[in-house]
């Protein structure tokens, strides 16, 4: 099959939307793993709430991404993803939907950051991951509210209301654990140090980030990096915790090169759609 020239802007918009959607889905999925296993009932409920918000955001974003995919010519649509199952659908002329994007792509088509796919480990590691991500998400969405793409601006505005609460939740836990007992102080400091190396990637612009910024759709990541650092610093200070210092940063997720963890997560999440394909649930 001859390669057809793809409209680059739309292609980048698709990747940009998927980056964001995949972050929301994978983070929400990870948090949902806590349901029924939290340290105290109220927190079990709070985490489920936050997980629901993320999966809800992912759904809106996948719907948008699917509509972008469906607008491409069919020849181009078959070149968008590596997934055989997805391409079979497309080659039959079917339109794809939110579930196809969530359940039929393999890890090498996912564009989330490495941070969100890291395992929950324990309460401290979960809180550390959420704190880094929620803070990022807050500034990311704040900026996207004025996106020139009206769908993106609307999703950002709606999500920001939820993420305000997420950020308060994770910041309060950082303070609670930092200020709590010697044990909790040590555990959250260790978790923050450990997860730190996954935060650099949040601000590493991809081709899609750059293209979308130049069109007024995206976010200036270098600007929100400073806001992010300031906020992290202020909260850690209040929590009597130390800002991690390691400089080496892991990256690759946004470029679809993932850690081993994502494959297992997807194997579990996509199991039904893989074992019983092409059915209504």
């Amino acid at each position: 099959m001859a390669t057809v020239q793809i409209d680059n802007t739309t292609f980048q918009l698709l990747h940009f939307t998927l980056q964001w959607a995949d972050n929301a889905l994978i983070n929400g999925h990870r948090l949902s793993e806590w349901c029924g296993h939290g340290p105290v009932l109220e927190q079990d409920i709070a985490l489920s709430n936050i997980a629901l918000d993320h999966i809800g955001q992912a759904r809106s974003l996948y719907q948008y991404a699917a509509s972008i995919c469906n607008n491409f010519d069919s020849e181009i649509r078959q070149q968008l993803f590596a997934s055989t199952a997805l391409n079979q659908k497309i080659s039959k002329g079917e339109l794809i939907d939110e579930d196809d994007l969530a359940y039929l792509r393999d890890a090498w088509d996912f564009r989330n950051t490495l941070l969100v796919e890291q395992p929950n480990s324990d309460w401290a590691f979960t809180v550390a991951r959420s704190f880094y991500f929620d803070t990022f998400n807050f500034f990311w969405l704040s900026s996207l509210q004025s996106s020139s793409d009206s769908v993106i601006a609307a999703i950002a505005e709606k999500s920001l209301k939820e993420v305000n609460y997420h950020l308060r939740w994770s910041s309060e836990w950082i303070i609670r654990l930092g200020d709590g007992t010697m044990e909790s102080h040590q555990r959250i400091q260790d978790a923050l140090n450990d997860r730190w190396s996954f935060t650099g990637e949040l601000f590493q612009p991809t081709e899609a980030d750059i293209a979308m910024l130049s069109m007024g759709v995206g976010v200036d990541l270098s600007r929100i990096k400073q806001q992010w650092l300031d906020r992290i610093h202020a909260v850690l200070n209040e929590a009597t915790l130390i800002m991690p210092t390691s400089v080496w940063m892991q990256e690759g997720g946004k470029q679809t090169r993932h850690s081993e963890h994502l494959g297992y997560l997807l194997a579990e999440m996509q199991f039904m759609q893989r074992a019983y394909p092409n059915m209504q649930w």
């Binding site: 949902s32 105290v40 009932l41 997980a51 969530a102 654990l177 909790s184």
Partner: protein, 321 residues
């Protein structure tokens, strides 16, 4: 007032359907019975999160994932209302949880059965939440006020869960061959445990008579079970599924379905701890609780420090004022 007049006053309240409130005098056995029943109910909500929680990470679509997650979260909320209601009787949540973990307190045996396929999410919502509603709607008028009020909130959500579960079953029953098979298989496995949820037959239920006298209970186990069977058999028919009971037959005379012998041997064994998942369920709860100990300690320590700090600040303010 003497104990006798206290008792008379209590009896009058029960007789006249005036709800008993936490500050009212109540017989010790009434209090004990309520603590046992409400805490058992709360534990059932919490342990009940586990079999369904299993499938949150494997739900077949994003919509189903959200609905299931919200449902399991609701059950946690029910646990919360019920623990609070029980606390008004003078027992702490920690004590109740301790009783669950030591095996002293029970929870509904239904949650000791495994969730093997996605269809089990349908069967549980439809049958287990359905049976829970039959049990719980009368409890909205139970004699102890805080329990009755908690149940009003719980019942609203349970009927929502029941409809969602039935809708999952309906979707499967209208689906492909393998989906139909999955739905039937789930009904086959969950039917008998669900009708056992109403507890032993009236003849073998030692607490029933007293609980009915105290108006904690309003209907007997067998009455509620019959009501559930009558309703549910029709719902199964409507979506083309077969209830796995060869002796099930409409009885013109009684206006109810006759049904086959319940395997009470299985029932008592699961109660005693021999169900397929008793150990896993309890271990999962103990693990969550033990691994969360340092988190709860930290939260308490931080709260105390914050309180001290606030008190100190207030003192300084009033001194400088």
């Amino acid at each position: 007032m003497t104990t006798k007049s206290f008792q008379e006053h209590f009896d009058n309240q029960i007789e006249n359907e005036v709800s008993i409130e936490p500050r009212d005098w109540m017989p010790d056995d009434y209090r004990k019975t309520l603590i046992r029943q409400i805490s058992q109910h709360a534990h059932s909500e919490i342990v009940g999160m586990l079999p369904e929680g299993n499938w949150i990470t494997r739900a077949p679509s994003l919509r189903r994932k959200c609905v299931l997650l919200a449902k399991v979260q609701d059950e946690g909320g029910h646990g919360l209302y019920l623990y609070s209601a029980a606390e008004t009787l003078g027992i702490s949540r920690d004590e109740m949880i301790e009783q669950l973990h030591s095996g002293k307190a029970k929870y509904s045996s239904i949650f000791n059965y495994p969730t093997i396929t996605w269809a089990d999410m349908g069967a549980i919502g439809w049958l287990v939440d359905g049976a829970a509603i039959m049990n719980q709607v009368p409890l909205c008028r139970t004699s102890y006020g805080p329990y009755a009020r908690a149940m009003v909130r719980v019942c609203k959500e349970e009927s929502f869960h029941q409809r969602q579960g039935y809708e999952i079953m309906m979707t499967l029953a209208n689906g492909t061959e393998v989906q139909k098979k999955m739905a039937q298989d789930a009904l086959n496995r969950w039917w008998w445990p669900s009708i056992m949820m109403f507890g032993p037959s009236d003849a073998d239920s030692p607490h029933t008579a007293q609980s009915m006298k105290w108006r904690i209970k309003r209907f007997s186990n067998d009455e509620l079970r019959q009501k559930f069977i009558d309703v549910t058999v029709e719902q199964a028919k409507l979506i083309g599924l077969t209830v796995p009971d060869p002796n099930l037959k409409w009885n013109e005379e009684t206006g109810h379905f006759d049904f086959g012998e319940i395997n009470w041997d299985e029932f008592w064994n699961v109660v005693k701890g021999n169900g397929p998942c008793n150990k896993e369920r309890l271990q999962a709860r103990q693990k969550a609780w033990n691994e969360g100990a340092w988190v709860r300690e930290a939260a308490i320590a931080h709260a105390q420090k914050s309180k001290l700090k606030a008190a100190k600040n207030n003192k300084q303010k009033s001194e400088t004022a």
